[in-house]
């Protein structure tokens, strides 16, 4: 009944070559790009503008608000044709996105924290009804106590909602992944919502230099949405009806199949985007894994700090490496296994607590990935940075020391460690 997955090729694992932060593809026709300085939020808004979104429906919440503000300016100044819907809650924001997406429109929204939590039930609806909505999430802590700063508690709470979830390390990646997200979501072979996550404040509010494509290149890369099915009087279909026990399970099984099968599209789009811009994307990015004994895996902005510390340590002859996950859902199991196969120890960084669970969410996923593979890689779980707590290089350095010790001794002193917390 279900399609067989393609043979594992190892594609989508993009190593950092040398010290550079970009991957240039040989023979690629790289488009003309303009250097500019944007915050993460502005970069996302600019990308959405270039993607000719039909409908934007959003509600303000820190630290995402600037995305909505910038986009409102584009609308107010007539720079886009987008219909902008300033709704009365995030619940309605995502609901309107679902309505617009089912009507055949290209749809974008953005949120964070409590907003994402308020959308929770609608997130399942968006994926269950196969709506290719793109949403930026400026990751932020969850109440209580209230805290507006960055961590990944919000997105981890929605990891089972059936969305493709991508993580950006910096402003450039926020821009790049937003453009790619539309192409992935709207592909006939995917038809699923995609979220682009950027760390609250660290990326959302930090101004960095980046390269932006010309409008016409983005338009060529991403033609207007052609919907596979739509709610329209020309095709009077009923969407979202009731499926009782004799059908519901099949719907959900097929949805899982769809999400798993969306994986190669993420890589394909990453490759195509790489051809256009010179910045190749995939599932994950590795640094120093060719000879590393110990490595650290993380999501989002922390990846840059981890790589920087790893670089210093490698210069001192330490065999360390780093892994950045661009795609968290669907989880790139095979690629990750292949990337870490020669490691002796791996520290997994979780910027959220999965209350009452044996480990953080990412660590649980990695433990599950290693299950029954015969691997004896030592896994250390590092919880960090909740509510915007800074993660200085010295802490990352200590983490590498712990991981190297585990690699050497084969023993893990602390199964789960809460970094830089008073206790």
């Amino acid at each position: 009944m279900y399609r067989k997955k393609g043979k594992f090729t190892g594609e989508g694992i993009i190593p950092y070559s040398g010290e550079g932060s970009t991957v240039t593809i040989e023979g690629a026709a790289v488009c003309t790009q303009t250097g500019c300085a944007y915050t993460g939020n502005e970069a996302v808004a600019y990308a959405a503008k270039q993607c000719n979104v039909d409908v934007v429906s959003a509600y303000p919440i820190t630290p995402q608000t600037i995305i909505v503000e910038r986009f409102s300016e584009y609308v107010a100044n007539g720079e886009v044709d987008t219909k902008f819907l300033a709704v009365e809650s995030e619940h309605s924001a995502m609901s309107a996105c679902v309505g617009a997406s089912l009507g055949g429109a290209r749809v974008f929204t953005s949120t964070a924290s409590q907003g994402l939590a308020l959308m929770h039930e609608v997130l399942y609806l968006a994926s269950g009804l196969r709506c290719p909505i793109v949403m930026a999430v400026a990751n932020r802590a969850l109440s209580a106590p209230i805290n507006i700063h960055g961590d990944q508690s919000d997105v981890m709470g929605s990891r089972d909602c059936g969305w493709i979830q991508l993580f950006a390390e910096n402003v450039q990646e926020s821009y790049d992944l937003t453009i790619q997200a539309f192409k992935i979501a709207e592909d006939k072979g995917v038809q699923l919502p995609v979220s682009v996550n950027l760390d609250g404040f660290t990326v959302s509010h930090a101004t960095e230099s980046m390269k932006a494509c010309a409008d016409e290149d983005v338009h060529k890369f991403l033609p207007p949405r052609e919907s596979f099915f739509k709610v329209d009087p020309t095709t009077p279909i009923s969407v979202g009806g009731m499926a009782l026990p004799e059908y519901y399970y099949e719907f959900k099984r097929q949805q899982e199949e769809a999400l798993q099968l969306s994986k190669p599209f993420v890589n394909r789009v990453g490759k195509e985007y790489g051809k256009m811009t010179g910045r190749r994307y995939g599932y994950l990015r590795t640094y120093g894994l060719e000879d590393a004994d110990a490595a650290v895996i993380s999501l989002g902005s922390t990846c840059g700090n981890v790589r920087s510390v790893a670089r210093t340590l490698r210069a001192k002859g330490k065999k360390v490496g780093a892994i950045k996950l661009w795609m968290y859902r669907p989880f790139p199991r095979e690629e990750l296994l292949s990337a870490i196969k020669d490691l002796k120890a791996l520290a997994v960084m979780d910027r959220a607590i999965s209350f009452g669970a044996p480990q953080g969410a990412l660590c649980s996923d990695i433990a599950a990935t290693l299950l029954n593979t015969g691997s004896d890689i030592k896994i250390l779980n590092m919880i960090y940075g909740l509510g915007g707590r800074d993660i200085p290089p010295s802490t990352i350095n200590t983490m590498f020391t712990d991981t190297l010790r585990a690699a050497k001794t084969g023993k893990v002193k602390e199964r789960i460690k809460y970094l830089d917390v008073r206790e």
Binding site: N52, D54, V55, S57, D81, T82, K83, L85, A86, V87, E88, S89, H91, S92, A93, S95, A96, C97, V98, G99, A100, S101, L102, G103, G104, A105, V107, E121, V122, L125, L129, P224, V231, D232, P233, T235, P236, I237, S238, V239, G240, G241, M242, A243, L244, Y247
Partner: protein, 310 residues
């Protein structure tokens, strides 16, 4: 004015669905769709109508139809309206589609009122149709803010100490009208011609319009399925459910006020009010009569009619 012989024979709401015999909401939907002027799309909140008309792989809807969640029909409809506009703007579709959002009283008066308020405030060209059977019937007859005072529901049972629901029905039409929209109407399936006229007017309005239609539920009201239309009429004739329009803020009674029928005529047809006819609860019955009369007079006053119930 809609007359029977002019009604379209086209059934956009197909027979064969699984709603109860004598279901008022079902009748309200069939009538509403017969009032359509052209291409129409519906967004339906969770509720009896939704669960019973689209049990996979069947559907009773011959129009494009979306069910999303319980509280978000107005928001989903808002998005759909903008999608049609945006696609038309970039030349990807053509032609006006009338959008109706449909919700029961629970999905409208209670959990969905925020999304509805947003839709009305933003001025979407959507008709919001609330079919009011005066409780959460789909989950087993729990009270909503549309349940009238005195009614027994499973969360306001007629107990030894508390005789059914204590609170009055929410002034839903007033709340909608307070958004400054140009058309709000209350209606009853007991007066089909009036109801369908109002539906047609609501569709004609350029901007949001709200129809609040009384649709008896034999199961929840504990009434004879054959009495559904009768009940829908008597509710109006007793003054318990006045039918009127609010056009650009101006109230207009839909029926000339005459002598009201005694409330007992309505209550005796329904199990949910039967306890109120017991002699020991005559004070409560009296309080309900007074409250209903005051409400009726309030609306007469707003409509500029002589304030009398005699």
């Amino acid at each position: 004015m809609v007359v029977l012989k002019d009604l379209t024979k086209e059934e956009l709401y197909a027979p064969g669905h699984r709603l109860c015999a004598g279901c008022g909401p079902s009748i309200s939907i069939r009538m509403a769709l017969k009032a359509a002027r052209g291409p129409i799309a519906a967004v339906n909140a969770t509720g009896c109508v939704e669960v019973s008309t689209t049990i996979f792989p069947y559907t009773a809807w011959r129009i494009p139809w979306i069910h999303a969640l319980f509280e978000n029909a107005a928001a989903v409809a808002s998005g759909l309206e903008y999608a049609y506009d945006a696609l038309e703007k970039r030349g990807a579709r053509k032609g006006k589609v009338d959008i109706i959002a449909i919700g029961g009283d629970g999905g409208t008066f209670d959990i969905g009122i925020q999304a509805l308020s947003g839709m009305l405030e933003r001025g979407h060209d959507i008709v919001y149709l609330c079919y009011d059977n005066e409780a959460y019937m789909n989950t087993g007859i729990q009270r909503s803010s549309a349940t009238p005072r005195g009614a027994a529901t499973t969360t306001t049972p007629a107990g030894r100490v508390i005789p059914g629901k204590r609170e009055w029905k929410k002034d839903f039409a007033g709340i909608c009208a307070a958004h400054g929209i140009s058309y709000v109407a209350t209606a009853s399936i007991g007066f089909f011609s009036d109801y369908m006229d109002k539906m047609k007017k609501a569709i004609e309005v350029d901007g949001p319009a709200v129809i609040h239609v009384l649709a008896p539920c034999p199961l929840g009201w504990r009434s004879n399925p054959a009495d559904t239309i009768k009940l829908a009429k008597v509710a109006v004739q007793t003054g318990l459910f006045p039918i009127y329009e609010i056009i650009d803020g101006k109230y207009k009674m839909s029926m000339k006020p005459g002598t009201l029928l005694p409330i007992e005529e309505y209550f005796k047809l329904q199990g949910r009010f039967s306890h109120l006819l017991k002699p020991e609860l005559k004070d409560e019955l009296e309080a309900i009569k007074k409250g209903a009369e005051a409400n009726y007079k309030r609306i007469l006053g707003l409509a500029g009619e002589p304030v009398t119930t005699q």
